[in-house]
Amino acid sequence: MRYESQKIAAWYWYGALLVFALQVTFGLIGGIVYVLPNFLSELLPFHSIRMLHTNALIVWLLLGFFGAAYYLIPEESEREIYSEKLAYIQLAIFMLGGVSAVVGYLFGVTASHGRSYLEQPLWIKFGIIVAALIFLFNISMTVLQGRKTAITNILLLGLWGIAIFFLFSLYNPANLVLDKMYWWYVVHLWVEGVWELVMASILAFLMMKMTGVDREVVEKWVYVIAATALFTGVLGTGHHYYWIGTPSYWQWIGSIFSSLEVVPFFAMVVFCFTMVWKGRRDHPNKAALLWSLGCSVLAFFGAGVWGFLHTLHGVNYYTHGTQVTAAHGHLAFFGAYVCLNLAIMSYAFPHLKNRAPYNQVLNMASFWLLSSGVTFMTVTLTFAGVVQTHLERVNGMSYMDAQSQLGFFYLMRLGAGIVTVVGALLFIYAVLVPRTKEAISPASAATAPAE
């Protein structure tokens, strides 16, 4: 740790990991309900479970991004964070909002104008906005007063975009078509727009640190990735505007641009592997490297390939609103953003704790558990979705009758979910509990399966 204020990141990540644990736990409970429908049905109905699962996901990923920004900006800008105090105030507001939301959801308190992912009551939304403003002020001041690099430039653009598009969560008109149109301004322009900028800059930072490749080369890649992400992703929003009451021209605009959304993800794979190959530096933190490479590959499959599978409007006409969407959502979020956060945490925690990389084998084991868990979950949901599409959308079977044919897939998904939860808990243990003596010696770590 070269700058004192980088330790802010640790506190954000403690919060993030706590919410991560909650997220996978509620995911597991949701998975159980799919198999045993009467489970908790009185105490905690499915809609509460689902909003806890999805909201916790968003909250912890954002906490992770905030932490990543506080960790990498001092090193990039070559100065301390503008105000440590503001950073902690921001964390307090954000955590308070997050915890209140969780407690509220458990007791059925949600927004009167809620929408999927945006169920937070209005006062919590305002809290989030205040926290975001504090954050943006704090890091913008740091960046402006320090060295300006392509990495901080793209990161800052991404983070500003997150805050700006979140403002659309406040606009919920009575017209359902408009409601949906602007809902995607938040959801799509986040995950297939500005979040990708955050992803590109964090991955670039990690690659630069771990492979030792010149900043010059890394920064050019960042621009190429960021440019392809926004050139395709903005009009790619059209792939959500096929069947919600919007004009038919979106079918072609959405199909064409969103097909190309796979390009930035492919570029990230090529980037990461080229850097590792070019760098040839034997970085001791194997786990962080594994997470980074895994991030690019799984994002390419989850967001890129699985997204493309059902993005053409001719296909989407049949698959829209089936488990195919759920399959894509799980692997895309995991590959692109979960892996990203876990990669920077794996890289940074040893520095924050001022020690050599530790628990490498446990951490890498958690990578394989989590990745195989989520990948298997995605595969089972894809099969479930394909069967559902055929039964419901081709044969015209009713929803519940079709669902009754899918029990086996949901059972396997539950199995994959258990593996995922074990992997998540193992990761948390591996980064938070450094041992004085390695559980498995680093010598055997070197022979552990590498990507």
Partner: protein
């Protein structure tokens, strides 16, 4: 912000592209103009290419309907516009040559001519749209017209962006900016060359 990036100073080398060539941009570095402009150009070609392939696919379902719709287009206006854009491209290419020979005033005049021809293109295109709309052909009336308006409209917006870029280049007239701006303008030419026969001529 613009001032620090679009410098008025000319690089010493004969071609600004040489500057970028061996500096980590990979194959992009060997192309004239800024590498990110080429990322934009390739993205655009992919978009227009996909749109044209989509058009060809949709046309298979209803060839006679498409031919009938195509016949309402003004092929003469389309051909004239092609010539206008190609001539504009010539002036843009000559402008780069002038700037390369350090004749900066000539370069600006040539750019201005190129931009004026771009305006002519937009004028002709606008009159075509007005005629089509007056005849009751709008974006919802037939699949052909949906493609026609989406593809040519998107292209026309690129002409508008190209005009803005040419203006910026005339203001900040480094050789690299000339090469970058001209590359975009020629891409707009290139797209039209492919779009015009696919929509107007191939029946």
């Amino acid at each position: 912000m613009i001032h620090e990036s679009f410098s008025r100073q000319a690089p010493d080398s004969a071609s600004a592209s040489a500057v970028a060539s061996d500096s980590g941009w990979g194959p992009l570095g060997t192309l004239p103009g800024n590498p990110i402009m080429w990322i934009l150009i390739v993205s655009e070609l992919a978009v227009f290419g996909a749109a044209l392939v989509g058009y060809a696919g949709a046309r298979l379902r209803d060839p006679t309907g498409f031919v009938a719709a195509q016949d309402s287009l003004d092929r003469i206006a389309g051909a004239v516009n092609t010539a206008v854009l190609l001539t504009s491209g010539l002036f843009a290419a000559l402008a780069v040559e002038a700037r390369r020979a350090d004749r900066r005033a000539a370069g600006r005049w040539l750019l201005l001519t190129a931009a004026l021809l771009g305006c002519v293109f937009l004028g002709v295109k606008g009159s075509e749209y007005a005629r089509e709309l007056a005849a009751g052909h709008d974006i919802d009336s037939h699949p052909f017209f949906m493609f026609y308006y989406l593809i040519t409209g998107f292209h026309a917006l690129h002409v508008v962006l190209g005009l803005i870029i040419l203006a910026i280049v005339a203001w900040f007239d480094s050789l690299e900016n000339y090469e970058t701006g001209a590359a975009f303008w020629h891409m707009v030419d290139l797209v039209w060359i492919v779009v015009f026969p696919c929509l107007y001529l191939m029946r």
